[in-house]
Amino acid sequence: MRPFATALAVAVLLAAPCAYAPTFAADDLTVTIKDHKFTPSEIRIPANKRLSIVVINNDPTPEEFESLPMKIEKVIPGNSKALVRFGPIAPGRYEFIGEFNQATAKGVMIAE
């Protein structure tokens, strides 16, 4: 059973840094979800910078804020908000969606 115990110990050790997270000053970037739509649906962001955006979900249902090109993937429960950190990204247009309501929840970020 020794090797298995070792593997478990390693797993726990690896998990230890997870208990640490640095504090971030939230930027002014904000996007609000209401009736499965984003406001604003077009957001201008600085390119090549680490960014954070506050996503406020004013719907009672959960939503997944997602953007493949910007590597964002975050579940936001109903009637709550979440801080999403991302970047740096190259200049360009990047789409984001609400994965649970893709028909209406769409938006784009323009990095410049």
Binding site: A15, C18, T61, P62, L68, P69, V75, A90, F100
Partner: protein, 274 residues
């Protein structure tokens, strides 16, 4: 309804692939059905609990709780997969030789099952919690919810069918080679999971060094497409990997190979394999 089916199917796909591979990798080990079922059941219960506490998890650690949670879940799965491959390197030969009944090592054979049951449980938990939240959202919103909900349930069934397809596809491999194939698949699976874990740590703000994008192959194969998503799970395909993701991906493969060589060395000193 079709939309819901597709969304749920895509979420279930990753866990489904992993379960299929694990089932093929444990072929011939007594009691594996029970362990894998236990892993799936544990994962489903875990998914419901995670979905229930999604708000609390999200707000933990300065709002990075969700990312850290995902990173840890993936990290633990990687270690379990490494341990499994090392175990198989040590005992795999005798197991392949007497596939029909592994009477001699029933007690031993339980060990990789524990590790793989954990992997299955974690995979189901991670993907499942999103499915639970999505279906809950549909149910809670009421309007035309039933058709969407049916779509969602059908999506889960389609995912399960895909698991069966993976499993029987792998069974078509002659039993002499099956452990070699599953060992490689598990190695790449682990490397991909580790790279994914790096991305979550980056999003959490814990690991932000070497975060430049190495290449962009989104024009060639989008990670959002079905093939892209399958390859993402199977070999860790990422359309825009960061430097750190690439380093960790390669490191996991190297460490895995070293561990397996070490394990093999202790079991059969006379057969010095290259």
């Amino acid at each position: 309804m079709l939309g819901a089916l597709i969304i749920v199917f895509r979420e279930v796909l990753e866990a489904g692939l992993i379960v299929g591979i694990v089932m093929a990798a444990t072929r011939g080990i007594d009691g594996r059905g029970r362990w894998i079922a236990l892993g799936v059941a544990g994962g489903v219960i875990g998914a419901a609990i995670v979905a229930l506490f999604a708000g609390a998890i999200s707000e933990a650690f300065e709002g990075a709780g969700q990312e850290l949670f995902n990173a840890c879940v993936l990290g633990i799965a990687v270690v379990m997969l490494m341990w499994h491959n090392a175990w198989m390197a040590k005992h795999g030969r005798e197991m392949a030789a007497e596939l029909r009944s592994v009477g001699t090592s029933i007690a031993e054979g339980q060990k990789p099952l524990t590790a793989l049951a954990v992997v299955v449980g974690l995979a189901v938990l991670r993907e499942g919690s999103e499915v639970v939240l999505f279906l809950y959202g549909i149910l809670a919103s009421g309007t035309s919810g039933m058709a969407l909900f049916t779509g969602g349930v059908l999506g889960v069934i389609a995912g399960a069918a895909f698991t069966a397809l993976t499993y029987f596809g792998l069974l078509a491999i002659p039993s002499r080679h099956i452990f070699t194939v599953t060992t490689w698949m598990i190695t790449l699976l682990a490397a991909g999971m580790a790279a994914q874990s790096v991305q979550f740590l980056n999003a959490a703000g814990t690991l932000t060094v070497l975060d430049r994008t190495v290449w962009d192959t989104s024009w060639l194969l989008s990670e959002g497409s079905l093939v892209g998503k399958l390859l993402h799970t199977l070999i860790g395909y990422t359309e825009r990997p960061s430097e750190m993701q690439l380093i960790v991906y390669i490191a996991v493969i190297v460490v895995m190979a070293l561990l397996m060589r070490l394990a093999r060395g202790t079991s059969a000193p006379r057969h010095k394999t290259a």
